[in-house]
């Protein structure tokens, strides 16, 4: 498909006095996992809800699979699947019944049994929804989102409140979807999720997209430098090290040199060459790469609450 599968332009939404969205713009291409990264209250959920047709924007336009979420609501809903921020189902509903129920809403759907198996819920087929653990409920929510083979998936903070084991299970599922080239819009306030799972990320804060790109692009764009800590066999001059390619600063602490570099690969190559020329050697090397958190802090001056 040429052109983006999802496009959002100048979305504005306010709740009473609060401006939840102040002009959100982004587009998503088919087959990519697109992340919306931002702190709570940034407007991620509101944006996703507008795209799903659950809320209407005050201004701006959105187009999902060529449909307007407000006008072509029913037609759009056949093409999308979503796991909401908190999925609730009647406690007394059985797992198998739940997925069969939702399968029945669509013109075409996948086999409920196959989905349950894929998400590891086969044995729980007859269990009541109320008996499931948090992780199981979330896996069911994801399974239900896939039941109609949607063209685009919306996952709103799917790992919130889950223990690390359950989280990893969700990551595996997302990575599998990524390999299958499914289009996913993934909302999160966890940095590592955005870095690990997403092809492209839009960093959102206070109702605006403040940065957008692949995780790598975003980190490169940051003026932040990589911290390289080296221990050398023989002492060396800070000034000399500061001359190495890409190095912005160099300091010594306790026998190790801490370099701050804009281009860590080049710096390391230069460092090795320099040490060779000096008859010196690397005893140890530690690199701390800039993270999206650094990007966020740089853009907003605040931490992204984790």
């Amino acid at each position: 498909m040429t052109g983006p599968i999802l496009e959002v332009r100048d979305l504005v939404k306010r709740y009473g006095n609060v401006e939840a969205l102040c002009g959100v713009n982004f587009s998503v291409m088919e087959g990519e996992v697109f992340g919306l990264l931002g702190p709570n209250g940034a407007g991620k959920t509101t944006t996703v809800e507008i795209l799903e047709g659950l809320r209407s924007p005050d201004r701006g336009s959105a187009s999902v699979c060529g449909f307007d979420p407000q006008r072509d609501s029913v037609a759009l809903k056949h093409e999308i699947g979503a796991a909401l921020q908190s999925t609730a189902l009647p406690d007394k509903l059985r797992v198998g019944e739940a997925i069969r129920l939702f399968a029945g809403f669509y013109r075409r759907h996948r086999s409920p049994g196959e989905l349950l198996k894929r998400f590891g819920l086969e044995e729980k087929r007859h269990a009541f929804y109320g008996q499931l653990s948090g992780g199981q409920k979330q896996r069911l929510a994801l399974a239900m989102a896939l039941v109609n083979n949607p063209r685009i998936l919306f996952f709103d903070e799917p790992t919130a409140g889950l223990d690390p084991q359950a989280r990893r299970e969700i990551y595996d599922i997302i990575e599998e979807l990524r390999r299958e080239k499914k289009t996913v819009v993934y909302t999160t306030h966890y940095i590592e999720e955005a870095e690990r799972l997403c092809d492209r990320v839009a960093v959102v804060d206070h109702g605006k997209v403040i940065a957008m790109g692949t995780p790598r692009e975003l980190k490169e764009r940051s003026a932040n430098t990589t911290r390289i800590e080296v221990r050398l066999a023989k002492p060396a001059e800070d000034d000399a090290l500061r001359q190495l390619e890409g190095v912005v600063d160099c300091r010594s602490f306790d026998g190790s040199h801490v370099l701050h570099s804009r281009r860590p690969p080049q710096t390391i190559v230069a460092l090795v060459k320099y040490l060779e020329a000096q008859g010196n050697e690397l005893a140890s090397l530690e690199i701390a790469a800039p993270s999206l958190e650094d990007v966020f802090i740089e853009l907003t001056g605040r931490r992204l609450r984790d």
Partner: protein
Amino acid sequence: MQLALRNRLFIFFSLIMPLGIFFFYLSFLAKGLLGPVKFFLGPVIALTVMGSFWGLSTALVTFREQGILRRFRVAPVTEVDMLASSIVANYLLALPTVAVELLLARLVYHVHDFGNLFSVWILVTVGTTSFASLGLVVASVTNTMQETQVICQIIWFALLFLSGATLPFPSLPHVVQRFGVFLPATYLVLALQKAFLNHAAAWDLLVEITALLAWAVLTFFMAAKLFRWEPEEKVTRNAKVWAAATILPFVLLGVWENHYGGVRSQSQSAMDSLRSGGRSSASR
């Protein structure tokens, strides 16, 4: 949509079954107090039918509060689908309940003549639809479970006492009767009585059936307009106008009845036949 409707029933069967049993016992209790059973069969069945609204409104409000409705909204499910399927599910529960009550009437009270069962069936069908829709309207208008319970209680007692379902209509003071005539429940009670006692065929009950049918259609329409998926959504002013509009036909009917008094005289004659019939069955 057929598929959607049928699938929805799963949910309600697993949840509302307990409620169905509750209503069964309720009507059972009411029965236990009765002597002239045939006369009161009408009101008792009517009570079962009318109870629909309470269970349905509770269920819908609970679902909305818990955020369950939200997930359904993401699927291509419309308000009409949701309403229609809950009404159907409710009907499927109510019907056996009524059947059991009639069975008990035969077994325990030795009632053999059930009048025109076809009419009864029609009235039960139309009645459950109307009152279920009423429940859905209530659920859409209220915000919390407490509000819902309070409003349901008020409506329940109004229906109970003003319609002749508990105290026979003719025995109510005239002033109250005037108000009672405005309620759909009154027509339901009277129609059921006529069906049981006088073997009234569907044609004879046309007025009542039409009234209930109109009520069913209008409340369903109103419920669809007022339907809220989320707890925070406000009821629009437009919706409130429609709500008032639904009341209109019954207001008109009530006014008409007050002038021509058809209902009152009919229920009076039913009462009279009870007195005479009671004497003859007592002598048996």
